[in-house]
């Protein structure tokens, strides 16, 4: 016990990653168990087509959950992502159907419009909740309504349709049976993982989630980091809007109702603490898979809609309870 600075030479990034790796292993096991269960009880589950389906179906939630992870890590929450996605989709839908553009320009315009809309909404969330130190729960609840209203206003509550063919192509393109839109989401996960683990920015987000005051007194602008986290979340809502449009080839102002709750569930099931400071985006990836596999598998085994909803709720509660014990034993 009196030994000073016990030898220790490995460039070990942080015990964080070790701990979160263990934690992710736990979530991974749960996912594996689900997959095993459905493989045994339905003949269609483990087929190439169905795997493609699952990947397509979790993509939007995964994209939203990646951004949500940033916000929850700093101890915030963003309830507006579903509405912001719809707003971004409608704005992009208006842009893509503007007359006088070739397909390539129209698509580029739509992508820019969707991401800018998302970024703007996220930034507003961040600036207001960080500047006045207000609970993000209520600010983003306001934004939930603003963005939904804006989506309906801009679209006049009409479904926008007839997008360029190339856009639709992108939405349904596959590489070896893996949807390209899913690869986009996976790329976002990897970027987020890198940012959170290997950059000063990521380190300080964890720091803010754990002890905002200590980070502030160490001379960092907590304000801008918070704004950045919410902006990232808005950005992913914009990306989700593009995925939505490419996949369904329409923009609907009533898209994404309740999506925020699914995204939050994916993050929490993935082991990120709602009070911030602890968690990982790899966990979020696994959490999104658990939700997606459950939604898919329960339909395949023919469970009724209502039972399906109940079981999804049970899984969320079980995940949080398990996480409580995981955190308790990890800290001993």
């Amino acid at each position: 016990m009196t030994t000073q600075a016990l030898s220790e030479t490995m460039p070990n990034p942080s015990r964080f990653s070790v701990r979160s790796a263990l934690q992710n292993a736990g979530i991974g096991l749960a996912l594996l168990a689900l997959i095993l269960f459905f493989s045994v009880f339905t003949e269609h589950f483990l087929t190439p087509n169905n795997i493609t389906n699952i990947l397509t179906q979790i993509t939007i939630n995964l994209v939203l959950a990646v951004g949500m992870t940033f916000v929850i890590l700093i101890g915030g929450i963003d309830l507006s992502v579903g509405s912001v996605m719809a707003f971004a989709a409608v704005v992009a839908g208006k842009a893509i159907t503007l007359p006088g553009f070739g397909p390539a320009e129209a698509i580029a315009l739509a992508v820019v419009a969707a991401t800018l809309t998302g970024v703007a909404c996220g930034m507003i969330n961040g600036v207001i909740s960080a500047y006045w130190a207000l609970p993000s729960f209520i600010i983003t609840l306001g934004m939930l309504n603003i963005a939904r209203g804006a989506a309906l206003q801009v679209s006049d509550a009409q479904t926008i349709y007839s997008f360029p063919y190339a856009f639709e192509e992108f939405g349904s393109a596959m590489i070896y049976g893996v949807p390209v839109v899913f690869l986009v989401a996976l790329f976002l996960v990897l970027v987020a993982w890198f940012v959170l683990n290997f950059t000063v920015f990521g380190r300080l987000l964890y720091g803010i989630g754990n002890n905002e005051e200590a980070v502030r007194l160490a001379g960092h602008s907590v304000y801008w980091y918070k704004v950045a986290a919410f902006t990232i979340c808005g950005f992913t809502a914009g990306i989700a809007a593009i995925v939505y449009m490419a996949r369904l080839n329409i923009s609907s102002p009533i898209a994404g109702i309740g999506f925020e709750l699914n995204a939050i569930a994916a993050v929490i099931i993935g082991g990120t603490s709602l009070s911030g400071g602890r968690g990982s985006v790899i966990g979020t990836l696994l959490g999104a898979f658990i939700i997606g596999v459950l939604a898919n598998g329960l339909i395949l085994i023919g469970l009724s809609d209502f039972m399906r909803q109940m079981i999804t709720g049970v899984v969320i509660i079980v995940a949080v309870v398990l996480d409580y014990y995981r955190a308790k034993y990890a800290s001993k």
Partner: protein, 306 residues
């Protein structure tokens, strides 16, 4: 959610204040709509406003809801209209039972009440001891029109699934029953029936999974066109062009799909005119015409490529 309701109620109040400020001797009609986030009702509202301008002999006070299930604000709106002393209330109820009691109050206050779009529950009406006519389309009959088109195309033994609207919503129920009538009549085989909450993305996901579980599906009956679009996209992704889809509502976005055969049919219930027609009927009664009775059916029409 509470906030939404408060906001909606506040908006309602403001609309009413504005309304009375300029009241003259023209009859005043209070129109209570469902969710204006739904393009069907949005279009209906626009139709009513155009109608007011065209007729010019009445004053329209219109109130919309935040969402499909927000019947609390509808009740508030009825009560506010009673206080304002409107001549007629034209209402598309969000809940077929909850709305009966407030409407009874309105009738007792001498206001002409016209119930359109969704019929009030017959038992609830009996319990409250009121007689109230219903003006609206036959959702069940309309769904059966679409279902029959599908049945004719597939013939007996055709394997079909139903994509339902919100569980508990009356029009969702009626449309499901209409589809089931077709299933029975044409001896189709119903493989599965699930809700996608009227929404495109969810319909896309739910139907993809149904298709995985039942690759032998031959036909799909979607309770609205938004969901039908999701189904069509799922079929395209799965590379299936052998499955026949029918929808409901005839929204503009499905026009091209029907034209090029990706959808077999949809049903038009002329929603744009529905509120306006109901207002006409209400004004007849206000002017001393006979009370409406039973079910005043509004037109419905099957829409196909030819």
């Amino acid at each position: 959610m509470k906030l939404l309701k408060i906001a909606a109620a506040a908006a309602t109040g403001l609309a009413l204040l504005a309304g009375t400020a300029q009241a003259d001797d023209k009859p005043v009609v209070g129109l209570i709509m469902k969710s204006l986030a739904n393009e069907f009702f949005q279009n209906m509202m626009a139709g009513a406003q155009a109608h007011e301008e065209k007729r010019g002999d009445y004053k329209l006070l219109a109130v919309g809801m935040q969402n499909e299930t927000d019947f609390e604000s509808q009740i508030n709106a009825v009560e506010n209209f009673i206080t304002q002393g409107v001549d007629a209330i034209v209402v598309a109820p969000a809940d077929s039972r909850a709305m009966v009691r407030p409407l009874k109050k309105a009738m007792a206050a001498g206001i002409v009440v016209v119930n359109f779009d969704v019929a009030l529950d017959a038992d609830a009406k009996k319990q409250q001891n009121i007689e109230l006519a219903f003006v609206g389309p036959d959702n069940r009959g309309g769904a059966k029109l679409a279902g029959d088109a599908l049945g004719k195309k597939l013939g007996a033994g055709g394997k079909v699934v139903i994509i339902e609207g919100n569980p508990g919503a009356d029009n969702a129920n009626e449309r499901r029953l209409g589809f089931e009538d077709s299933v029975a009549e044409f001896e189709l085989e119903l493989l599965d029936s699930r809700t996608a909450h009227w929404e495109t993305e969810e319909a896309n996901t739910v139907f993809s999974n149904m298709l995985t579980a039942h690759p032998d599906i031959q036909g799909v009956m979607a309770a609205n066109d938004s969901m039908a679009i999701g189904v069509v996209k799922a079929l395209e992704s799965a590379g299936r062009d052998d499955i026949v889809v029918v929808g409901f509502d005839n929204i503009p976005a499905v026009g091209p799909m029907i034209a090029d055969g990706r959808m077999l049919a949809t049903v038009d219930q002329f929603g744009t005119d529905m509120a306006a027609n109901s207002i006409d009927l209400a004004l007849e009664v206000v002017k001393g015409g006979p009370q409406l009775e039973g079910w005043v059916k509004t037109p419905i029409e099957l829409v196909t490529a030819n």
